[in-house]
Symmetry: C2
Subunit: 878 residues, 2 copies
């Protein structure tokens, strides 16, 4: 007979931390904590396999009743209490717990085992009638909510009425009698709602709860959560049944949640909250604002020290920052949960690096601890200091998740989703969030709530998503129906702009200016770790000396793509460019090109200077010429005046250059081949700039890259031009310039004929943006009509413009690499499409043996991390 | 020492027909004719290797002088004459002759060896002073033209003046004295032109002529000719030196050219021309209009019979139709050249099939004798009988090359080229053509000349190019300077339209209506030969029952591509289509689709009927929807009225559907996936039509083809819809329909993931048009700006949209085939791009193992022939 139930208690446990697949994360850790001597109330776990069985067979496995019975006997033995006993009743909690933490599922039922009889026993035994009935009403409330599906609000209203009636503000001010009456009211509500009495039989209660836990695996929120986080639907959840301990037995009792380090900053400090005389869900639900744990240091040094010791022990044991729940029952401390703590991206970096310093983990482990996606979030923009100086916050809340966001406010998750999908930047503003809001939170740029603490739902989820979030911003008065909020006398309507700063908790009116992120010391250390390990070089895509400098700061080892055309759009340069395009013969064209030459030369010089000692890959002109010409009547008139050609002539050229499919048109090297003088001018600018730099002692290493090559002869002809110019300049200037000539590989034919092309190339750089377009036959500008549908229906797993399509585009890359290296073993191969900074794609690039990736400056750290992880993952696979 | 000189004479020869690589075609055949006993004047051939040496080393090979000297001695011995002898001088002809016939090179110098002394000896020896000086002036004229580079016209003017002075019309009417004077004039011209005397020393003459022959390999015309016909530049030419025989020794002498069969129709009949008292170049140059050979039957039966006997002998010996030159010297017949005769495409088919019947060649040889390109030309349009009835010809010339052409007239090759390159249909109209006109002829749709016979330059070249051509149209009065021509009192300007019928020689004013070609009996027989041999199936691309029937006549074994969208454009159908596109929801869309269903069903029924027993591959909707919507204001208003939506709504939809790169946009299966109801309707129409046909006893075999698949899941989802409909219809109608579902392979990703796609496909059909676009990143609509340049510069050998790019696109096809068959060994694979009817591409399709090709109906015969040739070529390679 298969074993479905695993017990723990009294320092022994049938399970351990490795068994999370069947015991769930929460369960496995209860077993583990018991094993290592942490005070944990005894209990047992019904394995996730029972849940899977239940869904498969529409019934519970045979023998489960008996196993659960035995486990209950064990608990009775441990506690000396008896389940359902009128004198000394055993009460238990029932909690769901899957392999990974899933806020979408049913969480907890406390105080199970209470009924009209046992409650009396509890009152008698504890000598605290008020406590007993408070516990009972909580049980009915929770059970009704999660098992019977009755709205929580209905019960809250009864309590609110009672408090008003009694003229009190806090729950704790209600008496035992009040609670008794409330219990009766609650039962009436249950009868009305489900046309049945509230179940009095504890056995009945328990099995209903267990089934509710299982069923919660497939509720809407859980399914939504799994979809977002790509969790398989067939894992199922375990169910934990544990002896109750009570935080609501008076002021020497309480309940708390804690992190072993600050999950927001990563600082090694006590971080958490404690709510005296309360049960666990009071804290998590964010209903009452709890005490910071740090105050315990003075208020209850003994408890404080016990906590510190256990935090330390658990962290050392699990070798990671822990997120814990505990309860104090009449001065005695119990731990109810520990798990790896969610943290902000910044904290994740700091903790990983600190733990290396503390000797807890290795550098490689530290590298694996930080998700590249987190780094991406970390490198999110921040509000500019200038803006902060000039503007005062309209309100301040708790800084629950860092980063800054600017957007229009919406008051419901549905509306936020709708508007975000329309392309708006959205800030979701709620009184508080619940798992029902997940879809809106996932799409919002930032989240702002009026109530709740640092461990409230909004705070936890936003940190997980890496989104800026402010909670407990009490100045907010939200009127969801009227779609407005009032903040210190000022009214904001739906759609108005606000800005939030998740680092400070400040809320601003209007649109804040944002600034690019900087590298902080721990990040720098982490990235240094990665540099020791990774095999992929990391370059950057940069078109200006400014970007080049920024990228160097981020650790770029050269430029993988410098787009020369961006230089042509700037200021008055476009005039010369237009003259060039409108030229009627080679002479006129050369004259215009002469004007562009010194400008380009100056740009290249600046870039060589910024990249001193590192290669700079410069791509010759790529976009179709019509992009440089005016489109509307007025601009045509202007150009006409400036260059002295009639508007009709200009319109004729514009018309002539119009293309049906510009993506597949007269662009890339096709321009350089039909107008060799353009390539010649660009080559001249590059080599003259390099010569100047070298004469000044700068190590300029130009790599000239010809775009859109599909035929060997194209590259050979362009190469001839570049080599001729290089030779001329080097001879005239008397300097040796170390240079390479190569090509972008961005159309399928280039991959297929890479052997031929490699004969005349010193390097390849995959242009995976265009390669994806041509391999799929997708126009990136036009896919909006079907790509989202494709991803929704699972026709494609991901947007291939975000993550490399390994099966198709990736296969073509492999063909290109193999053929290229076969003919030219010295061929350097990189990638400069946007995929070059996307973690999965970077790892793929490592796997297929590229020499380097190149990405936008702020993605350089992400690429460095991903490249190192790729190496470690490969080692781990062996 | 390498041997460079090969002698022939007296029934023996050092060379033979197999040695054309070194002796050239003309030389090799002179040797061969000598060997088999044909009367050939003795001579020797300087091999092409000497020419290659000459270009490589800028000098003649060592020992060549001696070899030539020995060969000359042999000729002296054979003839009893002596080179340069004053009494009995040996005269020779010097002719170029490369591996393949090349009209662009220097052709012939006759009578070499004459000078002021030897001419007297010749006069004395022959007793014909007039003949001697006529020969001498010819020699000076030819030598000056081809060796010294003096314009022929300058000499012609002297003769014209002399004739005027004497008041005679024909050259033959001039006396010995006249010619003497003319010789003196000629020599004066030479002195003026080259500041040197005409070379008197025969040795000197000979070596100058030999070098001129070699040099002519690299003249402009020869290079141009090689470029057009893709002849390697490094072959070089041989040089033939042969004892002179004289056709200009009176009325019992003459010269002729002949074909062993009619090169225009292929009939087995005597065909050629004879010019009494003339030397060879008089015939070819088309200066005097010669006699048809057939008249000799009565005029000179002895000569006629001799000729017939030799024609027959040569044809049997060479196993092909011969093109021959001969000279009669005082009644004695000599053959000066034989070669495989150029012929019209129609003649080529008839001769090949007739020779099989005559037991001369095998069926396989017959198949290899007809070039697929010829078949293409043969299947050129003809002038419609209705047009011919209603219009009378404005002039009639000799029908030199069959087929009809309509175009604008231009009077120079340069202008014809310019206008043709601009996209005009051009008829080149010349007094006569010369090798300088090749580039204009190559680009013209048809050629019309005022003078010259059936073997004139224009006639020979046009037949080779397969272009309609009329020569000797004497009614034409061309004024090249004023750019007009006058025909029977009517004036035509440059750019006016005319039509020519190369089958009848008729010239029409304006644009004639053309009709599609038919299959004639010999072609049908030839195609029957191919069907026994070829392994590739040949299907057709047809969208209507009419086209399907036509294709069946041409031998199509099914439909490889039926484009359903063409059906939607017809007449009022577009209205329903527009309604469908403008529908605001699925319901409206379904209603519009319901209107289209019966129309499509009827079309499919007609096609199944026409293709009874053969598979019909129907492609589901492919083009982007905006193609069906109105573009301009007026059409939008019309649509608005018709379907009751406001013009604004319609404009909004048009605007929404606009795409930046429609080629890569929302089309193909992407439509069927986002609007599954369209695929459903089409499937319903197909299977209901098939059911109806089958119930009537027609064998309907539908193959449903999903376009633009790049992801397995796309095909799987579309397949699901089609299968569901098929099942429903078969059950409801109670018939079994044998059907297949497959996909077009037309984007690179489909090739790369063909293994996955093959899991859900029963057939693949390569759409090489789109595959070429995406593989190259070329938009077919936009390539005009660079593709011609690419081909001119040799960056690409051919237009990849005409001939499959085997290296790139072909490689992807191979990948697709291998991966597809690996997963699904029963996969049927075909091609339905336009390449499916292009000979080289068809052969490639055979090589890579396709099951069938599909092409437009009139290309079906071409594909059948090419497919058979592919098999034979493969056998020959083994």
């Amino acid at each position: 007979m298969k074993k479905y139930v695993y017990s723990f208690g009294d320092g022994k446990a049938e399970g351990n931390a490795q068994m999370r697949d069947i015991l769930g994360g929460k369960g496995a850790n209860l077993h583990e904590m018991t094993r290592i001597g942490i005070p944990v109330p005894p209990g047992f776990t019904i394995s996730a396999e029972a849940c899977v069985y239940y869904f498969k067979n529409k019934k519970l496995p045979e023998g489960l009743k008996e196993e659960v019975g035995n486990a209950l006997r064990f608990l009775e033995q441990q506690t000396g209490k008896k389940f359902g006993d009128k004198e000394n009743p055993l009460l238990v909690s029932v909690r769901s717990g899957a392999r990974v933490s899933m806020p979408g599922m049913m969480d907890t039922i406390l105080n199970l085992g209470l009924n009209d009889e046992t409650v009396k026993g509890l009152a008698k035994k504890t000598g605290d009638e008020r406590f007993a009935y408070d516990s009972y009403r909580r049980f009915i409330q929770m059970f009704s909510d999660v098992v019977l599906g009755i709205e929580r609000k209905k019960f809250e209203e009864v309590i609110e009425r009672k408090k008003e009636e009694k003229g009190v503000k806090l729950d704790t001010e209600l008496s035992a009698e009040d609670w008794k009456e409330i219990v009766n009211e609650f039962k009436k509500i249950v009868r009305e709602e489900i046309k049945e009495d509230f179940p009095e039989n504890p056995e009945d209660q328990l099995w209903k709860a267990i089934i509710a836990v299982f069923e919660s695996w497939n509720n809407k929120r859980a399914i939504e959560y799994r979809r977002i986080y790509k969790i398989p639907d067939d894992w199922g959840t375990a169910c934990n049944v544990q002896v109750m301990v009570f935080g609501n037995m008076g002021e020497d009792s309480g309940t708390g949640v804690a992190f072993s380090r600050n999950p927001s900053t990563g600082e090694k400090e006590i971080f958490g909250e404690f709510l005296p005389n309360a049960q666990g869900e009071d804290v998590v639900a964010g209903i009452r604002t709890p005490l910071a744990l740090s105050v315990l240091k003075d208020k209850n040094p003994s408890l404080y020290n016990q906590l510190i010791t256990i935090f330390e022990k658990l962290e050392r044991h699990y070798r990671d920052m822990q997120d814990m729940e505990f309860t104090v029952e009449k001065g005695k401390l119990y731990f109810l949960q520990t798990r790896t703590g969610k943290r902000t991206p910044r904290a994740s970096v700091k903790i990983a690096v600190d733990m290396v310093k503390e000797g807890i983990i290795t550098e490689k482990e530290a590298i694996m601890r930080v998700k590249p996606e987190d780094l991406e979030k970390l490198l999110h923009p921040q509000i500019s200091p200038e803006f902060e100086q000039k503007n005062s916050a309209i309100a301040k809340g708790l800084p629950a998740s860092p980063g800054a966001a600017v957007g229009r406010i919406y008051f419901t998750a549905d509306k936020a989703m709708e508007k975000a999908d329309e392309g708006e930047n959205v800030i979701l503003v709620r009184v508080e969030t619940s798992p029902d809001d997940i879809h809106g939170m996932a799409r919002a740029k930032g989240i702002l709530t009026a109530i709740g603490g640092m461990t409230s739902h909004a705070a936890v989820v936003a940190r997980g998503m890496g989104k800026p979030c402010i909670v407990g911003c009490e100045a907010l008065h939200i009127d969801e129906d009227r779609k407005i909020m009032e903040v210190n006398g000022k009214v904001f309507k739906e759609g108005d702009f606000i800005s939030i700063d998740g680092n400070t908790g400040n809320v601003y009116e209007g649109k804040a200016e944002l600034i690019e992120p900087e590298i902080f010391p721990e990040l720098s250390q982490l990235l240094n770790f990665t540099d020791k390990i990774r095999k992929l070089g990391v370059r950057t895509n940069a078109d200006t000396p400014h970007d080049a400098k920024k990228a160097r700061e981020f650790g770029a080892e050269g430029i993988g793509l410098c787009r020369t055309e961006h230089m042509f759009f700037e200021g008055e340069r476009i005039y010369a460019m237009q003259e060039m395009i409108l030229a009627e013969n080679k002479e006129e064209r050369r004259k215009a090109l002469e004007k562009l030459l010194p400008l380009q030369r100056e740009d290249f010089y600046g870039i060589f200077k910024a990249m001193d000692g590192y290669p700079v890959t410069i791509r010759t002109l790529d976009p179709p010429l019509h992009e440089f010409l005016p489109k509307d009547e007025k601009s045509i008139q202007e150009v006409s005046k400036r260059i002295g050609k009639s508007p009709e002539e200009i319109k004729k050229v514009v018309e002539n250059l119009r293309e049906l499919n510009p993506m597949l048109g007269h662009r890339g090297c096709r321009l350089g081949i039909t107008y060799p003088e353009i390539t010649e001018m660009q080559a001249r600018a590059i080599f003259e700039a390099a010569a100047k730099a070298i004469k000044e002692g700068i190590k300029a290493i130009p790599e000239v890259m010809i775009p859109l090559v599909g035929i060997k002869e194209e590259l050979r002809m362009q190469r001839e031009i570049v080599e001729k110019v290089a030779k001329e300049v080097m001879e005239r200037e008397g300097v040796e310039i170390p240079y390479k000539i190569g090509t972008m590989i961005e159309i399928p034919r280039a991959c297929i004929t890479a052997d031929e092309i490699a004969e005349v190339a010193e390097f390849f750089s995959f242009g995976t943006n265009d390669l994806t377009q041509t391999t799929f036959g997708f126009s990136r500008d036009d896919i909006a009509k079907f790509l989202p549908f494709y991803i929704e229906k699972g026709i494609l797993p991901d947007d291939p413009f975000k993550t490399i399509d390994q099966r198709g585009v990736g296969e073509l890359m492999k063909i290109g690499i193999n053929k290229g290296r076969e003919k030219n073993p010295n061929l350097k191969i990189g990638i400069c499409g946007e995929h070059g900074g996307e973690p999965e794609s970077v790892k793929f690039c490592h796997k297929i043996g590229l020499d380097y990736v190149s990405c936008s400056p702020f993605r350089v750290p992400i690429a460095r991390l991903s490249a190192a992880q790729a190496v470690i993952e490969e080692e781990n696979e062996k």
